[in-house]
């Protein structure tokens, strides 16, 4: 999947790890963002699967280090310059145990209008082509989005990603738009669940409308060509 330039900051901010809910689940594992989960499944850099055979003579092994009690407190660790161990491979997304980072680049605040207007326009474009009930339903949810945004109920990452979604939707990148909607549902379901399904439907409707129009265009071009090459023959259009 390719992303247009300028989205790097938003992307990096969406590769995060949060701690699990240790109040409700003992030793709850950390929570990975949608972006990180999608990345998983590639080849591991060093799968931990090796084992060591036990000594065949069966003798108990006495530990060689300082496990007896009452030893004097250790000095500091070996300082960096004498480190024989190279730093571990740093992947593209070092995990942090903190809240999701805001974009390091200071951007102007995402405006509600910049997001809502294109969505409403997209709905208008589709109005004649879908059932009234569906249209009303989507419209209702866009109103809900507006209400929550204006009411300060949506977090910055959600706003940023919605701006991105609208951007790719306008340039007809359906898969990318779908993926962003999914990432919002996975990472921020509490904030977005009520209205996001409307945006999802809008993407689907726009996509099918677009391909329908493209198919019709193609058909009319072909028919036009046929008209030219075989004059005098009846065509049903």
């Amino acid at each position: 999947m390719t992303y247009p330039a300028g989205r790097a900051e938003v992307e990096m901010a969406e590769l995060y790890v949060k701690p699990g809910n240790t109040e409700r689940g003992w030793n709850d594992p950390p929570q990975f963002s949608y972006g990180l989960q999608i990345q998983a499944g590639g080849p591991k850099r060093s799968p931990l699967t090796k084992r060591v055979a036990a000594p065949q003579d069966g003798s108990p092994r006495v530990p060689t280090s300082e496990t007896s009690p009452g030893h004097p407190p250790m000095g500091p660790p070996p300082p960096s310059s004498k480190a024989s161990r190279p730093p571990p491979f740093v992947g593209s997304c070092p995990p942090s145990r903190t809240e999701p980072m805001d974009s390091p680049v200071v951007e102007s605040e995402t405006l509600l209008e910049d997001v809502l207007r294109p969505l409403e326009q997209a709905l208008e474009d589709c109005r004649g082509h879908i059932k009234k009930q569906v249209c009303d339903d989507i419209s209702r949810r866009l109103a809900l989005l507006q209400e929550q945004w204006a009411g300060g109920k949506l977090s910055t990452p959600v706003k940023k990603r919605m701006a991105l979604l609208v951007q790719v939707l306008s340039s007809h990148q359906w898969d990318a738009a779908d993926d962003i909607h999914r990432s919002l549902m996975v990472d921020h379901v509490t904030e977005v669940s009520q209205w996001m399904v409307g945006v999802k439907r809008l993407i689907a409707v726009k996509r099918s409308l677009f391909s329908e129009e493209a198919a019709n265009e193609e058909k009319s071009i072909i028919t036009a060509e046929q008209n030219q090459t075989v004059p005098g023959v009846q065509h049903d259009l």
């Binding site: 409700r24 689940g25 036990a54 530990p63 280090s65 300082e66 007896s68 730093p87 569906v134 669940s193």
Partner: protein, 759 residues
């Protein structure tokens, strides 16, 4: 191939197969003396990004009792356009489409690198995937809210033309009619009374007017929209309404008095779900996904009463025959599981509660159908949320990893028969020349059904060598096995995956060394472990342990070199060196030891053990332990208390838990804050290294493991200490004047071996 290890690894990568023995003993008698049976771990849908499926149907042997698929082991006469089946030696004519083949123009299925090949079947209309959510509403408020959100989220992860349905339950069971317009309706059932499939279908208005009995065939949803679509609708039509419906779900309204449990009718809810799918979509891929937050307390399948002061059964209760509801409940769920498997559907159970939920009684539902069992503390945890998300994970082609409705058939060359299979499957009761009379696992058949599976699902398949003792080694010197798996791919295409493998026969008397060198101790350990866990279903725990010990002793006697008078002289060759350790850890594992686990926990661990691939199964048997220090790169260390050192960080992976343990000195340094000082940046890296490795595991594993970060003296350190061997004896510990840092005063492997050899 320099070593057998490389050979084994290459074969696993290509065919998804690991045999216990890679050179096969050529006589029945000798094979039984090898102790470990000839068997293989097979991953039928192993992910093969480099294997594009072919778009035609497989060519079959024309002998009706054979029907093996054309494969690279077959002899081919390119001029006469004939091929000889390598299993039954029948000469077959190639079909007309193969007229153009030649030595230089071979079809893919004859090339050796396509020992595993996948065919796409073009016949028949594709049927959509079906997801039926069965949701417990007797949850605490924030748990229910978290579950609702996860379900709403899942609607965004499902493909647009998948069908989805909703049943909610508590004291009553509600089947929701999904509609795109107007008011939503639901059908309410009492949770106390079980109903037959026909009654359910009648009451839901699914019965069509007098239709003659039809032969079983894939359901065509387009043919009967008026019947099925009321309860199971495509996502692209119903997502908005269903999102609202889910959002409006309330807790079960019936008040729960003090000292009581909520009345939960899980048995009837599941029964209705099975009946609904049975009547509308038999024989097409479907998942019944049960979400529950507590035990069934009412109706058929109840596992405990509603009085809180009567606790749910423990292993102790079961041993003392004091579990009132267990037999009846288990029978109820077994009946449902068998029906579901016969219909080609699978049942998942997502159980999130602090106390037990009845997984022991319900385990047959996921185990027989290939569904998932997920156990957590609350739906409002990362463990549940992310595990649930991973069900919908996609492969490199953007398709779901899950697959449905698989039938797996095994064919063998004449000198071998199939004794049985162990894994998430049911028998299809297909008799034939390949079927052995001696059963190991689910036997008496050469075909099994796996209704739900994914690229890691692995079966253990056990064989019997039937060649008589003095019969010569078969011509060509090789035996062969073919596995044919028909299944529904998540893209709804029907596919067939065919794997054909061969190994050399060898005479044990003269070639024992070759046979030894080709022993796969990892595969053997997992295959024996599966047999042991299978036995726990019908035998007492101590008997299973005795059986396991006896097998180990016999194996060591056969393959070890030792001086009878001197136990310390015992040696095993390299290809056996890890095996005794595996057995030692297996007998202490939660799969064979129920001490310290609830019946639900034991069922949960065994469920995952019986279906994972070799690498993950081994991790479960003998957890991985890696040590991080300033002295070099991370290295694997012995799972032993001697590996716990003050200046080391340990990472332990038990499959179900990831434990990071800081040694005493490391912990002191961290407390002193050295990682924040720039001149000690290497210490910061050292602390980070195991976290990065842990993250890689956590990001990919299903189900998601628990994560424990602890240090010397920490209470959570017990997770590490209870797994490692105590390498000191009692006497040594007392001499040091300290309490052992290990929880169990159990003897280590050294003592264990001595005892074995003295027998």
């Amino acid at each position: 191939m320099a070593t057998y290890l490389e050979f084994i690894q290459q074969n696993e990568e290509r065919d998804g197969v690991r045999f216990s023995w890679n050179v096969w003993p050529s006589s029945r008698l000798e094979a039984t003396r090898m102790v470990v049976p000839l068997a293989c771990l097979l991953t039928p849908l192993k992910e093969r990004p480099d294997l594009p499926p072919v778009q035609y149907e497989p060519v079959l042997c024309s002998r009706p009792t054979c029907k093996a698929v054309l494969n690279p082991l077959c002899q081919v006469d390119y001029r006469a356009k004939l091929w000889a089946c390598n299993f039954c030696f029948q000469r077959n004519q190639f079909p007309p489409a193969y007229a153009g083949i030649s030595e230089v123009n071979q079809p893919a299925e004859l090339m050796p690198q396509f020992s595993t090949i996948e065919y796409v079947i073009q016949r028949g209309a594709p049927s959509p995937l079906i997801f039926l959510y069965v949701v417990d509403t007797c949850l605490e408020e924030d748990d229910l809210q978290a579950l609702k959100e996860s379900l709403q989220m899942s609607l965004s992860l499902l493909p647009p033309d998948a069908l989805v349905g909703l049943i909610t339950f508590g004291r009553m069971v509600q089947v929701h009619e999904l509609s795109c317009e107007g008011i939503s309706k639901s059908y309410v059932f009492r949770g106390t009374k079980d109903l037959t499939a026909k009654q359910i279908q009648d009451m839901l208005g699914l019965t069509k007017p007098a239709m003659p009995m039809q032969p079983v065939r894939p359901a065509q949803p387009q043919e009967r929209p008026s019947v099925s679509s009321r309860f199971l609708q495509p996502i692209h039509k119903i997502d908005m309404n269903l999102t609202d419906l889910l959002g409006e779900l309330q807790r079960d309204p019936w008040p729960v008095p003090q000292g009581k449990r909520p009345l939960r009718s899980t048995g009837v809810a599941l029964s209705i779900a099975v009946g609904l799918l049975e009547g509308t979509f038999p024989n097409t891929g479907a998942r019944i996904m049960l979400f529950t937050g507590g035990p069934p307390t009412q109706g058929p399948g109840m596992v405990v009463g509603d009085e809180l002061k009567v606790p749910i059964r423990s292993w102790h209760d079961i041993e003392k025959d004091n579990a009132r509801f267990m037999k009846k409940a288990t029978k109820h769920y077994e009946m449902l599981a068998n029906r579901t498997a016969a219909n080609g559907h699978c049942i998942d159970i997502y159980a999130c509660a602090l106390d037990q939920t009845g997984l022991l009684e319900m385990k047959c539902c996921p185990n027989l159908t290939g569904g998932y069992m997920v156990m957590g503390d609350s739906f409002n945890t990362s463990l549940f949320k992310q595990t649930f998300q991973r069900i919908f994970s996609k492969d490199f082609n953007g398709n779901f990893r899950m697959a449905f409705g698989a039938t797996l058939e095994v064919k063998t060359s004449r000198e071998l028969k199939v004794a049985g299979a162990i894994g998430p499957c049911v028998s299809l009761n297909v008799k034939g020349p390949c079927v052995s009379e001696n059963e190991l696992g689910v036997g008496g058949t050469s075909q099994w059904k796996i209704c739900g599976l994914d690229p890691t699902t692995t079966l253990g398949i056990y064989f019997e060598v039937v060649n008589q003792h003095n019969a010569p080694i078969p011509q060509g010197g090789r035996g062969a096995i073919q596995v044919v798996t028909h299944y529904q791919h998540s893209s709804t295409q029907r596919r067939i995956r065919v794997t054909t493998v061969a190994r050399n026969w060898a005479d044990v008397q003269s070639q024992l060394k070759h046979i030894e060198a080709a022993f796969d101790q990892e595969a053997a350990a997992v295959l024996m472990a599966r047999l042991g866990v299978f036995r726990t279903e019908s035998e007492e725990g101590p008997d299973v342990l005795r059986w396991l010990d006896r097998q180990l002793i016999r194996l060591c006697q056969k393959f070890g070199q030792y001086n009878k008078e001197d136990p310390m002289s015992f040696r095993l060759s390299d290809s056996f060196s890890l095996y005794p350790q595996f057995m030692f850890h297996l007998r202490r594992s939660p799969f064979l030891q129920v001490f310290n686990n609830s019946p639900d926990e034991s069922s949960y661990y065994r469920h995952h053990f019986a279906r994972q691939d070799l690498t993950q199964s081994l991790i479960m048997i003998q957890p991985i332990l890696y040590s991080y220090s300033f002295h070099g790169p991370p290295e694997p260390v012995l799972l032993d208390s001697s590996s716990i050192l003050a200046d080391r960080i340990l990472l332990m992976d038990t499959f179900f838990q990831i434990v990071i343990y800081l040694g005493e000195t490391i912990a002191q340094w961290r407390k002193a804050g050295y990682q924040d000082m720039p001149e000690y940046e290497n210490f910061k890296h050292l602390l980070q290294a195991p976290l990065d490795d842990a993250q890689e595991i956590l990001q990919a594993r299903f189900p998601m493991p628990r994560y424990i970060h602890t240090e010397h003296g920490g209470s959570q350190a017990r997770f590490l200490l209870s797994k490692v061997n105590p390498s000191q004896t009692h006497n040594n510990l007392y001499a040091w004047g300290q309490v052992s840092n290990c929880q169990e005063f159990e003897e280590g492997p050294g003592y264990f071996f001595k005892m074995l050899l003295l027998n």
